[in-house]
């Protein structure tokens, strides 16, 4: 009982610490910046013709304009991310560097100290770059990299390294390896308020409220976008905003990670979610509570057994203070052992946790003075509560009463104990339910008909880098018996893709922005998509380059109904005739509903290959051999579309795994507590069990008697856990546009699982109690 108690407390505190590390890490994002509280992010929000637009990036002139207009804006800086382009250093090319263009004042706003080079002038000139230390070593080896240069694909002028920084901290909302000067970028000088891709940050005057600034931004759209709207669309701003809404919003820097909209357009990297921070904080708190209360409860319960010991000690001459000291120090040592056990658990398990959760949590936090102090205080507190009862109550016993063992401890706390069991099983059953729902939703995502067949698709995204050899590669691969078909397209419905939006007009009126897919005549067939009306693109029709295929949603949004074929739509490239309607397929995550989509006949980009068997390794090897045969200095790279699809949900998958683990641990701690309580009850009712057995009770009847009360409490806990769980999981599911319905059997399953676990815990102990020899209990002393 003693060791169970310590193990339970240790596991509880260890889990609580690990979760606390996670929560602290999530809350620490971007706080490494000295001016973190004064930096804000300007984002664009709009609702146009029913389309909700949430973009983290804004137009090029926004930052500078705000700096001019509002005195509280001290500075504005921009990031233009271009993903992971090819970078060449002395004939060696790399494609694994996150590359961004930033304003020259970037390093004044963000605290990323330049450790080599001149911090003031680092990015003043075009074609200069600041790179991380690791990057510098990768490119140029160990030694001074300042003044050395590299090439960016598509640009003739090399970039000169003018500064080196340390790695961007892990808890940052961006992690670029190369920060190039934005000076040479033409789009950065654009004055258009109609489109742009600049993540824009403002440095505010200390003490100014970002909400005030946000409210002052209301006039910006009319002032700057109005004239352009009139010119480009022939609509006045007032008319346009009668049915549509648009405006700018301001986010504090430190909110970006947890509060950003989780769509690819609204943030530089996949962020966290404040919901998960809440969920895990609650789990940590419950865990700590359950573990501590169990520990105190069990210590108190077992102490009752020591009444006799107290009697003997008193008869032998121990005084009250000595007993007090004895009980308190015993309790303190036990708690301290549990704490040390917890610390060891955290240290040992953190690497595994990091692997599971994809985090890089560090232990440093644990050694902060206030954390150590808090843990010590907790130790004192728990040991006082756990040891206080026996210390103060038992030690005041008259020795004769104590010796006679008349005292039956803890009956008066029955209500408290029942409440505790209910609380533990509310948490346990709730977590089991949550785990089931999350797993069910993940299953659903894996198995949902997403409108195309993502299996056996090999993606050679970089094939365009081979130039004309790409078509040679394609033709060679087509001869390979492992290949079913090949399409030439840069548009891929999962994973990173070249995605651009087109402004679409019907009958001269602006309708919507729509993403555009550029495909060839083999795309629909290769991807396993389905045409519901009209025809596919074909080489036989010379005019297909101006035609368009739309998806079902587009047909609906544009008001074509089932009659889309032959309709004319217009975008920046002119008029297009609709020749086909493709069945809706998911090209964004299932968090979002399907957007309207245009597919144009413009074959370019890489190759997507459909294999005829599930074993892709042979095909990959063949493609690699062919690729190397071209003697290109481009390295062969591939992705499997199925993997990319799964990657989309990696955050949820990880959350699910972590939830599974902590649900398991919480249940384990709760079970240890329950086990202790059953043991205690069995001991308390030892004599009663003996009497009942002598009077003819069977083993089953005794076991039922011992379990019945607990089972009742567990049933009560279901009535609290399930409505609560239903509500919370519904909230979680609502973040998916495509989601499961919580079926009744999920609740039954959760209830059965909880019951089974509880019965398993109670069963052994009550069996032992029920099969004991009754004369042991009935000895007349």
């Amino acid at each position: 009982m003693f060791s169970i108690n310590i193990v339970g407390l240790g596991i509880g505190i260890a889990s609580c610490l690990v979760i606390t590390l996670y929560v602290i890490d999530e809350l620490s994002y971007d706080k490494y910046n000295k001016k973190a509280d004064e930096i804000v992010n300007v984002v664009f929000r709009a609702k146009i013709n029913g389309e909700e637009i949430k973009e983290g990036a804004v137009m090029a002139p926004v930052g500078e304009t705000l700096k001019q207009e509002f005195p509280e804006v001290l500075d504005a800086t921009r990031i233009r991310s271009i993903g992971m382009p090819k970078v060449t250093v002395e004939n060696q090319s790399y494609r694994d560097n996150k590359f961004a263009f930033v304003d020259a004042n970037f390093f004044n706003v963000f605290t990323l100290p330049i450790i080599e080079g001149n911090p003031r002038s680092a990015l003043q000139e075009p074609n200069t770059a600041v790179i991380t230390k690791a990057e510098s070593e990768k490119f140029f080896g160990v030694g001074d990299a300042i003044g050395k240069s590299f090439f960016l694909e598509g640009q003739e002028q090399p970039f000169r390294v003018t500064g080196i920084i340390e790695e961007v901290p892990q808890n940052s909302h961006f992690h670029f390896d190369i920060f190039a000067s934005i000076e040479g970028l033409d789009e950065a000088k654009s004055t258009s308020w109609f489109g742009g891709d600049f993540f824009t940050y403002l440095l505010l005057k200390k003490g100014s409220n970002y909400k005030d600034l946000e409210s002052k931004l209301a006039h910006l759209p009319e002032k700057y976008m109005g004239p352009m709207m009139q010119e480009a669309m022939g609509v006045s701003f007032d008319d346009f905003t009668k049915e549509n809404k648009l405006g700018f919003r301001v986010f504090p820097l430190t909110d970006i990670h947890l509060y950003s909209d989780n769509s690819p357009y609204s943030q530089l990297e996949q962020g966290g979610d404040i919901k998960y921070v809440y969920i895990f904080s609650a789990i940590a708190l419950f865990m700590l509570l359950i573990a501590c209360i169990n520990f105190m409860n069990l210590s108190t319960a077992t102490a009752a057994k020591r009444a006799k010991e107290v009697g003997i000690r008193k008869v032998l001459g121990s005084n009250k203070n000595q007993l007090l000291y004895q009980f308190l120090s015993e309790s303190f040592i036990a708690t301290l052992i549990a704490m040390l056990f917890a610390a060891i658990l955290v240290i040992v398990s953190l690497p595994y946790y990091n692997e599971l959760s994809g985090k890089e949590l560090q232990l440093d936090f644990l050694w902060e003075p206030f954390v150590v102090l808090a843990l010590l205080l907790l130790t004192f507190f728990i040991s006082l509560l756990a040891g206080g009862y026996p210390a103060f109550f038992l030690s005041s016993f008259k020795p004769i009463t104590a010796l006679k063992n008349k005292f039956i401890g803890g009956n008066n706390n029955k209500g408290v104990r029942s409440g505790l069991v209910v609380f533990q099983f509310v948490v346990s059953a709730g977590l089991i339910l949550a785990t089931l729902v999350v797993n069910q939703q993940m299953q659903y995502i894996q198995n949902k008909d997403i409108g195309y067949e993502r299996e056996q698709l090999l993606v050679l995204r970089d094939a365009y880098l081979l130039g004309n050899d790409r078509d040679v590669l394609k033709n060679e691969l087509l001869k390979n018996p492992k290949v079913t078909s090949i399409t030439n397209s840069a548009s891929i419905p999962a994973g990173s893709t070249d995605n651009y939006m087109s402004q679409v007009y019907v009958d001269g009126e602006f309708s919507r922005r729509m993403p555009v897919y550029n495909i060839d005549e083999n795309y629909i067939q290769t991807m396993g998509m389905e045409l519901v009306a009209g025809r596919n693109f074909s080489k036989q029709f010379g005019t297909d380059s101006t035609n368009v295929i739309i998806n079902q949603t587009a047909a609906k949004v544009l008001g074509f109904g089932n009659d889309a074929i032959g309709k004319i739509v217009t975008d920046g490239g002119g008029d297009h005739k609709v020749v086909g309607v493709v069945k809706d397929f998911h090209f964004k995550s299932l968090h979002q509903s399907i957007d309207p989509l245009f597919l144009f006949y413009r074959p370019f980009g890489g190759l997507i290959i459909k294999a005829n068997s599930a074993d892709m390794s042979g095909l990959i090897a063949d493609a690699n051999t062919l690729w190397n045969g071209f003697g290109s200095d481009e390295t062969f790279g591939y992705t499997l579309l199925d993997d990319s699809y799964r990657q989309t949900y990696v955050a949820e998958q990880k959350m699910g795994t972590v939830l599974n683990v902590f649900a398991l641990l919480t249940i384990l701690v709760a079970c240890l507590g329950l086990f202790g309580l059953v043991t205690f009850t069995a001991e308390q009712r030892f004599k009663e069990i003996g009497i009942r057995k002598v009077l003819g009770s069977s083993v089953t009847e005794i076991m039922t008697m011992l379990s019945k009360d607990f089972l009742k409490l567990i049933f009560i806990s279901f009535f609290i856990a399930f409505p609560l769980g239903y509500y919370l999981m519904k909230k979680w599911l609502e973040s998916f546009a495509y989601r499961i319905e919580m079926q009744w059997w999920l609740f039954v399953l959760a209830a059965l699982a909880t019951l089974l676990i509880a019965l398993g815990t109670i069963g052994w102990k009550s069996f032992k109690a029920a099969t004991m020899n009754p004369i042991k209990a009935l000895k007349d002393e």
Partner: protein, 221 residues
Amino acid sequence: MLLQLNNIFKWVNSGGQRIFLLKDINLEVEEGEFISVMGPSGSGKSTLLNVIGMLDNFDEGEYNFLHESVHTLKEKHRANLYKEYIGFVFQSYHLLDDLTVKENLEMPLLYKKFKGSERKAMVADMLDRFNIVGKKDLFPAQLSGGQQQLVGVARALIANPKLILADEPTGNLNSQQSEEIMGLFRKLNEEDGVTIIQVTHSEQNAAYGSRVINLLDGRQV
């Protein structure tokens, strides 16, 4: 014959030595007997009673109870046997503290699967017979020791056992209470024909019985 013990041995091993608790016990009990088991502390009186009551095992020998060979029976059958034929009375009564007198009496009947109406009748009958109708809703703690033991005896009798085993039934009682209980035993034995085996220290109590068995260090003397 009600029961028969043939060459019963019971021992425990302690420090490589075999310590005998019962040594070669032979005993025949006819229905309607009233036997007293006597002997100093540690002579094996309670152990013998527990063996007869089938609450404890023995290591060697044969035990026949109403033509059943107890030593060959499985635990469960043995339990059924004593459940049906034996009632127990204890020195410290062993009533359940959180049950009333009525509920304490009813408990053995619950385990013997009597119907609700039958139980009610049997409990009422017993309360009547022992003159404790007025006490039926009291808890044991509200009764005197003698009254508690009265309830203890009533509980042992309620399911009409053939044999009552009483382990120092008057050990916690004063002399007047003792006489009442012993008088009750005699009445049950003589008028109702209940077989009684009691363990006692008192010559006076032993005199109520028809036969005395003396034990010393686990041996009949």
